[in-house]
Symmetry: C2
Subunit: 344 residues, 2 copies
């Protein structure tokens, strides 16, 4: 590196994306929203077309020592579907590009595509294209997902208003604790022949890491109940990071209550076993693929009745900033401690 | 590899894609055509939406020892635009995903995005999203391009009819000879301090390799002249390979004339210098990004007047197979010797 050059890790993922994409004007009438949400919003005919893409790299996003290839294919598809649901859209098509090194056989690729097929079957999505190439390095999976929505239905990150209720589906931190468990068992196993990891009673957190689901059911439930969120995104980098995105884009602040953060029993047990702070894991672990959204205060009663949705706080004026209210009533500023791929 | 497993190179790129994608049903009304053309054809409202994607991997598709990063960004965008034009559509949006190892600085990425921006400016395309991640291995660039066309305008690979005229834009083999030149100068340079490669008089073939263009101009010219091809694709893997695709998908055969294959003077000189068969280079070199298309015989006079388009042969009944008619009047069967990324 020359003296006057800049290390990528200095900017962080979002700073880097801002810098690289800031000088790209949007010139086509068919582009409603470019970079900066879960998916881009395009408009063709009377439909909004949503486009999202994810790049998964071996050694960064997955470790083939403990991720079965079928699960990898399934998860690679699901994380893209999740981005489309997070816009209140319906995923319709995906393209899949694979870069594979010579240590992979056709049967290995069959397993990856098996997982992708299972995900497509379950969520009603068509595989419509892609690219397959040799790789001199590790496994590369790049998936782009196309979704559709009526223009009136699309929910962005920038519509949260003061007094809105902040909601999150499911529970948080489980995928992160599942990853800790897999990494521990993998390092214990190293060098031991016939080692059998003990996963009994930990199935839920493992499944959350290895086979996450996109919350299609929550989107359908909200639609059925006539609730349209004012803002929404999926929790991929961690609740803290996503709350800050919504608040920044909407120009608001927030308060979330520590004792309202939904956490599963297995997640809590595992955090204790690892001597980790449970709330930190739930706030910053990431890979939950739950939906974080805001609704008007007037939807309070409707939300209260919904199974699988928790109210965790409320939206404030921007000058109040973003904070978590702890069990003892103190306010802790929320910081983005989300996963940074450039710090590896 | 276990005994009963299959090496990927045994299937080849197209055999592999067929195997991996064959069990994916298309279930959505919004999907008109999935895998198997330059781009997928989706339908939203009254528009056909075209989607294509390309994965470029360091060490396979490019060598950073002689490809400037700005050119790499430009070319990565162009090859996607070319796929949309090859469907007779207009590229509108791209997403760009990058995987970058720690040896890259922010300034390196600026250079890649500079090239992408130049391409977007020139072709009127919007950057609408992407993903940026660290990579523990080489540079990864995955671009998806979205285009649009009226349903009546879309041209697929499967519409060629016996007696149609086969046309190709520009000239062939130049990008391949440019690559040979770059590789030679790079190996000569190895270990020599202050080595200056001699590229004088070879600018055209270098530009064809390093900074190819998509043939937007040809698409506009055809439209202006009221010519709608019966089939079309872009020449990325080599003319032989693309002719076989069109003939297979259309259920026809073809005859192309050796002495009609358009070849630039610099390409011919370079082939002589390298002692390579010129026609083989032009038929199988690839990366030309010219348009190969067929038109009804009745368009003969219109095509004759078009600058930059050459008639190279005609479509036959399928039983006649695919052959090149040599200068001495013999028929040589056309074989797919296109570039196979899995043979590296």
């Amino acid at each position: 590196m020359e003296n006057n050059e800049t290390e990528i890790s200095k900017l962080g993922e979002f700073g880097l994306i801002d810098r690289l994409t800031k000088d790209f004007p949007l010139r086509n009438a068919e582009t409603k929203k470019g970079v900066g949400d879960d998916a881009a919003i395009l408009t063709f005919g009377d439909k909004d077309v949503l486009v999202t893409t994810d790049l998964l790299l071996e050694g960064i996003h997955f470790d083939l020592r403990y991720v079965p290839l079928k699960h990898l294919g399934y998860k690679a598809a699901i994380v893209n579907f999740s981005d489309i649901y997070a816009m209140n859209g319906t995923p319709k098509q995906i393209t899949v590009s694979l870069g594979v090194s010579s240590r992979f056989t056709v049967e290995h690729l069959d397993a990856i595509y098996d997982g992708i097929r299972t995900a497509c079957d379950l969520y009603g999505v068509d595989l419509v294209g892609g690219d397959t190439s040799a790789s001199v390095t590790g496994l590369v999976i790049s998936i782009t997902c196309i979704g559709v929505a009526s223009p009136d239905d699309v929910v962005r990150r920038d519509g949260a208003k003061p007094t809105d209720i902040i909601c999150v589906s499911g529970d948080l931190g489980a995928a992160f604790m599942g990853l800790q468990l897999l990494e521990r068992e993998n390092s214990v196993a190293a060098g031991q022949k016939d080692f059998q990891p003990d996963f009994a009673g930990k199935e839920y957190i493992l499944e959350r890491q290895l086979k996450p689901e996109a919350r299609k059911d929550i989107i359908e439930l909200l639609r059925k109940e006539g609730i349209k969120p004012t803002s929404m995104m999926d929790v991929s980098d961690g609740l803290s990071s996503e709350l800050l995105h919504i608040c920044k884009d909407s120009g608001v602040g927030c308060r979330v209550y520590e004792d309202k953060i939904p956490i599963d029993y297995q997640t809590a047990l595992m955090a204790e076993e690892f001597n980790m702070n449970l709330v930190t894991a739930a706030m910053n672990g990431g890979e939950d693929y739950e939906l974080l959204f805001t609704v008007p205060l007037t939807d309070h009663e409707k939300i209260e009745k919904l199974k699988g949705v928790n109210m965790i706080g409320y939206v404030t004026k921007p000058e109040l900033g973003c904070a978590m209210v702890t069990r003892d009533g103190n306010e802790l500023p929320i910081k983005a401690q989300g996963w940074n791929a450039f710090e590896h």
